[in-house]
């Protein structure tokens, strides 16, 4: 009985944490849309007038634009990701590990960094101009719908790629063999086999759509100056306008959540009972399509050009821009390479902040958020992967799916709205404009996706492994330490790294919840954008990105050095390949 009570208590604690972390702030904020007086934001206890207002003019256009952009991003990301995943996973293209690594790098680069990089590439007088390319047309195109769709598509590409890759890796060659043996030609074989990975394709679309809908980086950097309003930016504007319009912001927040919930749930429904994360032991090794030597070189080159275009060029733009300290890459006297921007990053003009302390703040945030997220996500993943599914597991599942669909900006605004309420600050706890509130917000935004990511690896561990440890004399802790932890170590390390890097580059929540005087790096870098000190922003971006890559390398090196060989032999399902 004592054991049963403990189980219930642990479940209650988890839900209590989630209640204050996600449910109450978001629900309270969304409630303002129809009941502004409840939170002293208007005169009515119940009204639809804010909904009408939110769908008119600038904000209404933002919602329509966002839906259009997200749909296009989903289609583009899935299309390109399918082709690349097939080339990398199912052919003998050169450098397969390199291309997967490049996808990880693309995943780590936040959208605001990519946007910056592209501006550095195509702005008149910048990199491409220096190479003699007339970029004015592209420049104007970039500051509009096409630029936003392009950047968001490249950002969504790695999400789609990893989901589809797993599907393709799990697709044993026996299906192709069966089709070919029964008379199908190559095209019919593809048409026959492709539906088998339909769940992965749908899943990739849902993730890409949700990512595009909730993105703030592009909306903030590109949407704001392109006269193409995006919902996340109009929401931000509604809060930071004077006076702040929380009810209209709440309507936009509800629209953002509601628009991302259906694809995420549809994806989950299609995936039910056939998780793409779990590979059967009976699945045969993938047989790769063998290109001829010439075709192999050609496909590798094409892939290289594509990856250079989506990743190399914006990075190169940011890097080259960071080594010049003028508004333009070239001047009348030619290109002037200099380290001045890197010096300025740490000794800026009086109106700007040095990068050092903010980067340190970001790293501290990263460590706290990644560690907190890992613990909570693991607990939730354990509940999700329970051998005896019950109502609690189903509720957790639905809750996590719904929470993934909550954009960071909605969480951020929900936090400043709820935790700044008078009854909270004066009677419970005053967290407004404090570091703990920012950490809570960032954990809240990371936990749902990480919990679902970890559910795969956790679910793959047979319960008999820890039962065997318990039966053979291991305490609960020793059973976890000696069986579950080694098997999950790789997945846990990658979950931690992913959360850490995403926290450092996160802009939406950081921008809204940072403690004055303790700005994170992403907020500081953003202040350089759109100024004549763009080069300093680029240098700060390059330093931040290099630091993130450095931390990943360091953590992986430590993992390699301190873990036994057996730990590194397994758990690869949770790791990138």
């Amino acid at each position: 009985m004592a054991r049963l009570r403990r189980v219930r208590w642990s479940g209650m604690v988890v839900w209590l944490v989630l209640l204050f972390l996600i449910i109450i702030p978001v629900c309270a904020f969304v409630l303002v849309a129809i009941s502004p007086r409840l939170f002293r934001q208007g005169t009515s206890y119940f009204t639809f007038s804010n909904i009408t207002a939110a769908f008119q003019g600038y904000t209404g256009q933002g919602v329509v634009d966002s839906l259009l952009v997200a749909t296009l991003v989903g289609v583009f990301a899935v299309t390109f990701a399918t082709v690349i995943a097939w080339i990398v996973q199912r052919t003998n293209v050169y450098g397969r590990r390199f291309w997967s690594g490049a996808m990880w790098l693309l995943l780590l680069v936040p959208t605001w960094m990519t946007t910056l990089g592209w501006i550095d590439v195509i702005s008149p007088g910048e990199l491409l101009s220096a190479l003699g390319v007339h970029t004015l047309f592209f420049f104007h195109m970039f500051f509009g719908a096409s630029g936003i769709v392009f950047v968001l598509s490249t950002a969504a590409l790695p999400f789609s790629y990893f989901v589809i890759s797993v599907g393709m890796r799990g697709l044993g060659s026996e299906f192709e063999d069966a089709a070919r043996v029964h008379g199908a030609r190559r095209l019919l074989t593809v048409r026959t086999v492709l539906p088998i990975i339909a769940p992965a394709l749908l899943s990739a679309f849902a993730i890409s759509f949700a990512e595009a809908m909730s993105d703030f980086g592009v909306a903030f950097t590109l949407g704001s100056s392109s006269h193409f309003p995006i919902a996340t930016y109009t929401l931000f504007n509604a809060i930071y306008a004077y006076p702040a319009n929380f009810p209209v912001a709440a309507v936009i927040a509800a629209v953002l959540i509601l628009s991302t919930v259906p694809p995420v749930f549809l994806q989950a429904r299609v995936m039910r009972g056939r998780s793409y994360a779990v590979l059967s032991g009976r699945t045969k090794a993938v047989r790769r399509y063998q290109f001829s030597p010439l075709a192999r070189v050609g496909v590798t080159l094409a892939l290289g050009i594509f990856m250079f275009f989506v990743l190399g060029l914006p990075l190169l733009g940011a890097i080259t821009s960071s080594f010049t300290n003028t508004a333009s890459f070239i001047t009348t006297t030619g290109v002037h390479w200099t380290l001045q921007s890197y010096k300025d990053v740490f000794a800026p003009l009086p109106s700007f902040t040095t990068l050092g302390p903010p980067l340190w703040t970001s790293n501290q945030l990263g460590i706290w958020v990644a560690s907190g997220t890992l613990v909570l996500a693991y607990v939730l993943a354990r509940r999700m992967a329970s051998r005896t599914p019950g109502i609690g597991q189903r509720i957790t599942d639905v809750f996590l799916l719904g929470s993934i669909a909550i954009p960071g900006i909605v969480l951020g605004v929900g936090y400043i709205f709820f935790y700044d309420q008078h009854f909270i600050t004066s009677h419970i706890v005053d967290l407004y404009e404090t570091m703990p509130l920012l950490i809570m917000g960032l954990i809240a935004s990371s936990v749902p996706s990480q919990a679902r990511l970890l559910t795969g690896p956790v679910g793959q561990i047979q319960s008999s492994l820890s039962e065997a440890a318990r039966v053979h004399g291991a305490s609960k802790w020793r059973a976890f330490r000696s069986t579950s932890l080694p098997l999950l170590s790789r997945a846990l390390v990658w979950a931690w790294l992913l959360t850490f890097t995403k926290t450092i580059s996160e802009l939406a929540i950081a921008q809204i919840l940072y403690q004055p005087g303790h700005e994170p790096a992403s907020v500081v870098i953003e202040t350089y954008l759109g100024t004549i000190f763009n080069a300093i922003g680029s240098a700060a971006t390059v330093i931040t990105l290099a630091e993130m890559v450095g931390v990943i390398a360091l953590v992986l090196l430590i993992f390699r050095l301190v873990t036994p060989k057996g730990w590194r032999r397994i758990g690869e399902a949770g790791a990138p390949s």
């Binding site: 039962e467 065997a468 318990r470 053979h472 004399g473 305490s475 730990w567 397994i570």
Partner: protein, 369 residues
């Protein structure tokens, strides 16, 4: 050999119940496993045998009842001893070998909390590796082993702790037929050499009879019969036990006449002019829906020219290495299966079928305790 011997544990289970929501998995199971014996719990899927084993191991918590291992109450009113403190070991159906540990480390795992020195532990692991014949695989990882080798590692791990009780959860079900027979013998030998008490669950009656000192037959969460294997085979307590432990044929009979305390006479439904004697079940009646259950061992085939026996036609024949197993049609859609004969009868041959009263039982078909 003596180095492996342990103090075997006595296991007492009293009125054990386990419910999953509204589903009753165990319904008042009581049994005593004597020290050093090999007990097999036999039952179809859903009979509760896995739940019973997991309750013994402490992986599942029963709803009520009592479990005593040795002289220690491990489950009872207000008491639940966790698996690590029950001093038992277990061989899992999927082997449950830790993939990140070598064979040596897997086997040494239960010794980590023992008071043995490093040298003693290493020596014990070495002994076991030799004993189960996998010394050459000591530094391999589980995924580098075959199913049979993995099962040997699981067995060695279970033996390494030298606890008084080993539980076996259908350990042979994932192996092919050849390996199954070989490993079954090794399990029986090693376990008995170690002197340990063993509780083994399976749904395979031949495996149960080959291994067990005592067999417990479970059905729908209840222990239907618990006795020596010979007694279960010769005196099944109910139609369910008879069917589950293997019958060659089952026929509804109409005329049953008691001829002695242990025998009845029945009219064969497929040869109305013939009457045979059959064994009267000790615990079952035959007054409602009497059926004749025939064990394969009690059926003999003779050429059609024989004067004795009921007529039949060979419908199928299979060579099993030692002789032939036949399927004999003895009436309208009534057949006897697995009928052994040293000589082959061809399909379509007319034969005579003789039944041994010792291997024929009369019981109510619907009476399923």
């Amino acid at each position: 050999m003596s180095r492996l011997r342990v103090q075997p544990a006595r296991v007492q289970i009293r009125d054990l119940r386990k419910q999953f929501g509204t589903k009753v998995a165990l319904n008042g199971v009581s049994l005593v496993v004597e020290p050093g014996t090999f007990t097999v719990l036999l039952g179809p899927s859903g009979s509760g045998k896995t739940t019973l084993l997991r309750c013994l191991a402490g992986i599942e918590q029963p709803s009520s009842g009592e479990i005593i291992i040795g002289d220690k109450v491990v489950f009872g009113p207000g008491k639940f001893v966790s698996p690590d403190k029950r001093e038992l070991s277990m061989v899992f159906q999927d082997y449950a070998l830790w993939p990140h540990m070598t064979v040596r480390k897997n086997i040494a795992f239960p010794l980590a909390t023992s008071s043995l020195s490093k040298v003693e532990r290493s020596q014990r692991v070495g002994d076991l590796l030799e004993r189960v014949g996998i010394a050459h695989l000591a530094d391999r990882y589980p995924n580098e082993l075959s199913g049979g080798e993995q099962q040997r590692v699981a067995l060695a791990r279970a033996l390494s702790a030298r606890v008084g009780l080993i539980l076996f959860d259908e350990p042979l079900s994932n192996l092919d037929a050849d390996r199954r027979d070989q490993l079954r013998i090794e399990i029986a030998t090693l376990t008995r050499d170690a002197g340990v008490t063993a509780v083994y669950i399976t749904h395979d009656q031949s495996e149960a009879f080959a291994l067990a000192d005592r067999v417990g037959v479970l059905r729908l969460g209840e222990l239907v019969q618990y006795t020596k294997p010979e007694k279960i085979y010769r005196h099944p307590k109910s139609a369910f036990v008879a069917r589950f432990t293997g019958v060659s044929g089952e026929f509804a009979v109409s005329h049953v006449r008691e001829v002695s305390d242990k025998r009845v006479e029945v009219q064969l439904p497929f040869a109305p002019h013939m009457f045979i004697e059959a064994t009267k079940s000790e615990n079952s009646s035959y007054d409602k829906d009497p059926h004749l259950f025939v064990r394969a061992a009690g059926v003999t085939l003779a050429p059609v020219t024989s004067t004795a026996g009921a007529p039949g036609v060979i419908r199928d024949v299979a060579y099993n290495g030692r002789g032939y197993e036949h399927v004999v049609e003895v009436g309208d859609k009534a057949t006897l299966t697995k009928v052994y004969a040293a000589d082959r009868f061809e399909r379509g041959d007319c034969v005579k079928v003789m039944l041994d009263p010792v291997s024929c039982f009369v019981m109510n078909a619907q009476e399923e305790v």
